[in-house]
């Protein structure tokens, strides 16, 4: 069986991060972007936990991740709330269409 080391975790995290970033950049659907953000956050979380596990002090990394999860959830809530508010108005969550504010 292969031994899973730090690099593996980092690579996965990096991939997650890039995926999230791409999603954020290419999708126009607000919810999709929210998902992309979650991906980015989780990539960071994966990094943290991995570093915590392989060297560094275990505690702070883990604790950080706990906070991260909570805040990610909170952010998702707020995000969704606002998305709903917009949706009520536009019947749509395509961000291309909400560009009243510009210039």
């Amino acid at each position: 069986m292969i031994h899973v080391g730090l690099q593996h975790f980092l690579v996965v995290a990096a991939l997650l991060f890039c995926l999230g970033l791409t999603c954020v950049l290419v999708r126009r659907n607000a919810v999709a972007i929210l998902i992309g953000i979650e991906l980015i956050l989780n990539a960071a979380g994966l990094n943290l936990i991995a570093f915590a596990r392989f060297g560094g002090d275990l505690l702070s990394g883990t604790v950080f991740v706990v906070f991260l999860i909570v805040l990610a959830a909170a952010e998702a809530v707020v995000g969704l709330a606002l998305i709903i508010a917009v949706h009520r108005r536009l019947r749509d969550i395509d961000l291309e269409r909400s560009d009243e504010l510009r210039g």
Binding site: L21, V24, L25, R28, I33, L95, E96, D99, E100, L101, R102, G103
Partner: protein, 695 residues
């Protein structure tokens, strides 16, 4: 040197008159009529003449009077007092100016009798007296300059006295501006003199070798002597100073090339022409050169320039005078020519002779002008001699005074003009210190003398002889006594002046005036002459005879051509040589030449710089803006913000930039996020790059 506290009154009284009639004149005239004005403005000059005479009596033998009012300018080394000084030269000038001036004031009462600008006229005239006397009596160069410019101003005011006719206004402006050119020369000369007076700068203060710096005429001779070997641009600085000062004199005394203003100046009232443009102001240049004799004797070059310019002017102006028909123009050119004689005198080092001619000329030329004025009045302001004639019968006094003045100017031994002019011509011949042989100067002057005699007698015959003309149905009448008396007085003066200048040749003592002025011109004694003093009598007799002869010749010609105005010869002669006549008649087109070259060029330059300022300089600020504006125009987007909000092109540029940049803010989140990510990446790459740079 004798301290007194009277001298300031000599210019002061006319100034008082000027102020009174200037500020209160209008109401006074309305309330009490012109008598009141005359009372103030005519009596005060006489009073100042009285004071001048009194001071003249007080004048110590060979010494001077001095009257210091207060310190005018005192900066570091520069100590200039507001002070007056009277030495023989300025005494002579002051007396002449105040006497002739007062006489002409009297004449003006009659001449200006029916002009509503009476008070203004007399206030200006008094102001002129003040400036002229300031010029004459000023103790130092700067103060002299004040008077110098003051008379210029008054001549401007008086030439343009009838300002409603634009021609007069133009003439006035021409006079002032041309004079200003001269003044520029005078100013530079002043600066050169100041600079040359053998000092240097220490601790930012100008320390003169030997005490505080001074510009007054008592200390200047020694300072100038000390600076004799100083050079600037490889030229002796005294020469430069002398020449620049002489440019000033050319402006004021209407010498080539700056004489052009004087004929036009005849636009002013005739008494003004008599006083300012014949008797006094125009001689200021001569006076200045005589006053600065101690400077000129150090520089043969400068003296040569003065003498040559004078001689050439004398001849040149005389030729023009020959073909003029306007009686005042004739007199104007003869003035220019006579001034040329004076410059010959001072130029060849015969300063006293120059001054003497100045004095005699003051009388007979004033007389001529006033006669002309009386004629013009009689002819109802007709000045063309071709429309005159036969006035002699009805205007005897005018006629005979004019006749005598002609005798004087054309140099017959029974009048003062002869003595002064002849002395000048002899001294010119006698001059050994110039860079050209003296006889050349003499020759020019000699020919000019003949022409002078001719055109003066021509004017006499054309005006007073021949068939009588009638103006408005009746014959021209002789003027009122207030005028004729003045004419007589001036004629007498022209005669009386003879006695102070009778040459040593006739009675064994030197002329009184020469003796009187000697202390002022002591510097000139060093100049070398062709003949030792007392020698060369034969030549002198010869020259004297020659000049009488040529005067007679001129008279004869005039007689032949113009007596009784019967002869057809003049017309035929002109027909014979139309070109030459046209050329001379049009004064060699000098005015036209100046106009097309100098004046046009000047205005063009000013227009150019005006354009440059509004377009280029301001444009530099607008430059980037112009680009931006063009750009905005191209893509058809007129940016209204720049129009109202901002200023200039810089603003345009900035605003355009803002307009472009704002488009980045698309309002689309995707763009924003792209910006964020791009920012991070650029940042990383930049940093990476810097790392390589640093490492």
């Amino acid at each position: 040197m004798l301290e007194t506290n009277l001298l300031w009154l000599i210019p002061g009284l006319p100034l008082l008159g000027a102020v009174l009639s200037g500020l209160l004149g209008k109401p006074l005239q309305r309330r009490f009529g012109k008598k009141a004005i005359s009372a103030v403005s005519v009596l005060l000059p006489w009073a100042s003449f009285g004071v001048a005479a009194w001071c003249f009596i007080q004048l110590p033998e060979g010494g001077s009077l001095h009257d210091r009012l207060w310190t005018w300018i005192a900066i570091g080394p520069l100590e200039v007092d507001l002070a007056f000084a009277m030495d023989p030269l300025s005494a002579m000038m002051a007396l002449a100016v105040s006497l002739v001036g007062s006489l002409i004031h009297v004449y003006s009462i009659g001449y200006m009798a029916d002009d509503e600008g009476y008070w203004r006229y007399f206030s200006f005239l008094n102001l002129f007296m003040f400036s002229m006397l300031l010029l004459v009596l000023g103790d130092n160069l700067l103060l002299m300059f004040v008077g110098w410019e003051g008379v210029g101003l008054c001549s401007y005011l008086l030439i343009g006295f009838w300002y409603r006719d634009l021609v007069n206004a133009r003439a006035g402006m021409k006079a002032f501006v041309v004079n200003r050119i001269g003044d520029f020369g005078f100013l530079v000369g002043l600066l050169l003199l100041f600079w040359s007076l053998g000092g240097e700068w220490m601790d930012g203060a100008y320390r003169v070798n030997g005490g505080a710096f001074s510009l007054n005429f008592r200390d200047l001779p020694d300072l100038v002597a000390a600076a004799a070997d100083k050079q600037l641009w490889g030229v002796p600085v005294l020469t430069l100073a002398g020449i620049f000062l002489f440019i000033g004199a050319c402006g004021k005394s209407a010498q080539i090339p700056l004489y052009v203003w004087l004929p036009d100046a005849m636009a002013g009232p005739t008494p003004v022409s008599a006083l300012i443009h014949a008797a006094t102001m125009v001689t200021a240049g001569v006076y200045m050169v005589a006053r600065m004799n101690f400077l000129y004797v150090h520089s043969p070059t400068a003296m040569t320039v003065v003498a040559l310019v004078g001689a050439v002017t004398a001849l040149f102006a005389a030729t023009i005078g020959v073909f003029q028909y306007d009686i005042k123009k004739v007199l104007a050119y003869s003035t220019v020519s006579q001034l040329g004689y004076m410059f010959i005198g001072v130029g060849v080092g015969a300063f006293w002779a120059g001054s003497y001619h100045l004095l005699t000329h003051a009388f007979f030329k004033a007389c001529l002008f006033l006669c002309a004025g009386s004629v013009i009045m009689a002819m109802h302001h007709e000045q063309d001699m071709r429309k005159m004639g036969g006035l002699g019968k009805t205007m005897p006094i005018t006629r005979w005074t004019y006749w005598y003045a002609c005798v004087a100017i054309s140099g017959f031994p029974i009048a003062s003009g002869f003595f002064s002019k002849d002395e000048i011509l002899f001294q010119a011949y006698n001059a050994g210190s110039l860079m050209v042989p003296g006889w050349i100067i003499w020759l020019l002057g000699f020919v000019a003398a003949g022409l002078t005699a001719f055109y003066m007698w021509r004017s006499y015959f054309m005006t007073f002889t021949g068939p009588a003309v009638s103006v408005g149905g009746h014959e021209p009448q002789e003027q009122r006594p207030v005028i004729t008396v003045v004419l007589g007085a001036l004629a007498v003066g022209a005669f009386a002046m003879s006695f102070i200048g009778i040459p040593a040749l006739w009675l064994d003592s030197p002329p009184q005036l020469e003796h009187f002025l000697a202390p002022v011109f002591s510097a000139a004694e060093g100049l070398e002459r062709v003949f030792a003093p007392g020698a060369g009598h034969g030549v002198e007799w010869g020259l004297m005879g020659a000049s009488i002869g040529i005067a007679l010749l001129g008279l004869a010609f005039a007689w032949w051509l113009y007596r009784g105005r019967k002869s057809e010869l003049p017309a035929r002669l002109m027909a014979a040589m139309p070109r030459a006549h046209k050329l001379v008649y049009n004064k060699y087109y000098v005015d036209e030449i100046y106009d097309t070259t100098a004046v046009r060029g000047f205005l063009g330059l000013s227009r150019l710089s005006g354009w440059f300022d509004s377009k280029v300089i301001d444009g530099l600020v607008n430059l980037c803006g112009a680009a931006a504006r063009g750009f905005a125009w191209i893509d058809g987007a007129i940016d209204r913000y720049a129009v109202d909000g901002a200023v200039n092109g810089l603003a345009w540029l900035v605003t355009r930039a803002g307009g472009k940049l704002r488009r980045v803010q698309t309002g689309r989140l995707t763009t924003y996020l792209a910006g964020l990510v791009a920012g991070v990446l650029i940042f990383v790459i930049l940093t990476r790059f810097l790392l390589d740079v640093y490492a």
